[in-house]
């Protein structure tokens, strides 16, 4: 197990290298000289030179790349051009709402999605199954930002139950924070629960066809014990994978939904940076999210051991 984890961590290195290189290339993809693109059309030659020096764009490309890796290893993401603060500080400032929103929505996705999938499989081919799956299919067809807008329309504008937008930071009390995150978290979580329900259903159906289920029924176990004890545990393996993937999807979903609800998280940070051509911030946020994404996927792979004793990593 330890060697397996070590091997998986080592395998992350080439991927991390590619990720770092892609983020580096971003700034050079822009047509023309990046410094003048960042400075904008009205900038003077001095401004362009200043930005060139500030970003180290005056060095040859390979030198820039090596310096970039070196800085990343030290955890230095550079300085924001617009905010005039280190990118890492800007990210740390904005990470709270994004993380809370992601955690809240994953909770909703699991609490709604897994039972829906399991019920659907247990009552396979009945009206319950068909109704649940129709809703789930509709659910995967709604983009999260659209669901967010519809929620604002129904629950905030028409019913007035929730604030239209905005975020209350934790320091003003968690109840307020929670309230400000209810609509965005449901917008994100419900869409994801549809996906989880579909996967949970199909993996339950696969497991329910296995011989040990027939054996369980044959020895007189009740349907409840068969479904909820024997089948569910085995069906959880693909489901856990999809929950892990959902977590990763939800972080990026949060980036979009934050715009809908005006939540000052990483999503607002990167979008504002794109509009201001603040490349160090764009690179920093993208890298940060990509590394988080990679670590989550690793954690998902490692979690199989917990759910399936047959999986023994050599």
């Amino acid at each position: 197990m330890k060697t397996y984890i070590a091997r998986r961590l080592l395998a992350l290195i080439p991927v991390a290298l590619v990720v770092a290189t892609v983020s580096f290339v971003l700034i050079h993809l822009a047509p023309g000289d990046p410094a003048s693109v960042i400075a904008g059309p009205d900038a003077s030659a001095d401004d362009v030179q200043r930005i060139q020096r500030q970003l180290g764009l005056d060095a040859p490309l390979p030198v820039q790349l090596v310096r970039w890796y070196g800085r990343l290893v030290r955890g230095d993401l550079g300085e924001s051009i617009f905010l005039r603060m280190p990118v890492t500080a800007a990210i740390l400032d904005r990470v709270e709402p994004t993380l809370l929103l992601t955690l809240f929505s994953i909770a909703i996705a699991v609490v709604v999605g897994v039972p829906a999938g399991v019920l659907s499989a247990r009552y396979h081919n009945t009206a319950t199954d068909q109704a649940l799956m129709a809703v789930a299919l509709l659910g995967v067809s709604i983009p999260n930002f659209l669901l967010g807008l519809l929620f604002i329309l129904f629950f905030s504008v028409w019913l007035g139950w929730f604030p239209v937008a905005g975020y209350s930071p934790l320091e003003y009390g968690w109840a307020k924070t929670l309230r400000s995150l209810v609509l965005p978290a449901f917008a994100l979580g419900l869409v994801q629960s549809a996906l989880i329900a579909r996967i949970a259903r199909s993996s339950m159906l696969d497991v329910l066809r296995e011989q040990f289920i027939t054996a369980g029924r044959a020895k007189g176990l009740g349907e409840r014990a068969v479904v909820y004890k024997h089948a569910l545990k085995n069906a959880m393996i693909p489901t856990v994978t999809i929950i892990g993937i959902s977590f990763a999807i939800l972080i990026s979903g949060a980036v979009v939904v934050e715009t809908v609800f005006n939540i000052p998280g990483l999503g607002r940070l990167i979008i504002a940076a794109v509009l201001r051509r603040d490349y160090p911030v764009i690179q920093g946020v993208v890298l940060c999210i990509a590394f988080l994404y990679m670590l989550i996927n690793l954690a998902v792979d490692l979690s199989y051991v917990l759910f399936d004793p047959r999986v023994r990593y050599q």
Binding site: V18, S23, A30, S141, L150, V274, V286
Partner: protein
Amino acid sequence: MSVIALPRPESTGRRAAPRWLVLLTRRKTTLAGAVIMLGMVSVGLLAPVIGGDPAHMEVAGRLAAPSRAHWFGTDDVGRDVWSRVVYGARLSLLVGVAVVGLSFLVGMVCGLVAGYYRSLDNAVMRVMDGLMAFPAIVLAIALMAALGPSVINVIVAIAVVYSPRVARVVRGSVLVIRETSYVEAARALGVADPMLIGRHILPNCLSPVIVQGSFVFAAAVLTEAALSFLGVGVPPYVPSWGVILAEGRLYIQQAPWLVLYPGVAIMLTIFGLNLFGDGLRDLLDPKIRGLATERQ
């Protein structure tokens, strides 16, 4: 020697096609998906006929509620929302088709090369893994930041995001197919690599790729809408569902139709694609084909 039975994909393809059609239309949900998509395609193609000028402004009639003159109401500068939604369908379809085409081209070439030439596999797939390590929308946003707002750039950015996913599916199939005896036979006959790949391997790894196609299409439509909604997709003067929604967000209290109609259009399109894609997958995916027939 030359009588060794090499598969003739064209001949089997022709015979199978009508049967596919029968199987595809047998399931009502798949048929419904196809009908929705056909409807969307016709709306997109007929946009100039059924819609007016999407850029025409009537400032006096701004934020007007839906009426006989303006079926879907008007927006904040008095543009007809129906015309804009109809032209938005055109844009979404264009982006969907272009992204599928481009990402298939790139993804299939990379997948075939990586799967067939084992020495290149590691290099190609590590790059693909690296690209897939980014969440789709985040990579698309970053690429748009570098490329700048335009319809072409949106297509390129989304295609870059989805090519690795196509490549991975193709590579997986190639790895299996290259070990089959008919490929070995062809190689023994001295068939050159390009011919072997193009004629014997490629046609046989198409079905999982086709299934991917409907999902990549849906993802492209969604991603374009999301990018444009965030203000980093197509330029604001292009009628796109995402752009209309972004404007609608600001007037959600006075003019909910600005959110509702483009929203329904997106939902219907994705719903149709998902229904159709599910049907296609059940039909073409050998792993679950058994299940699909068992269910019927």
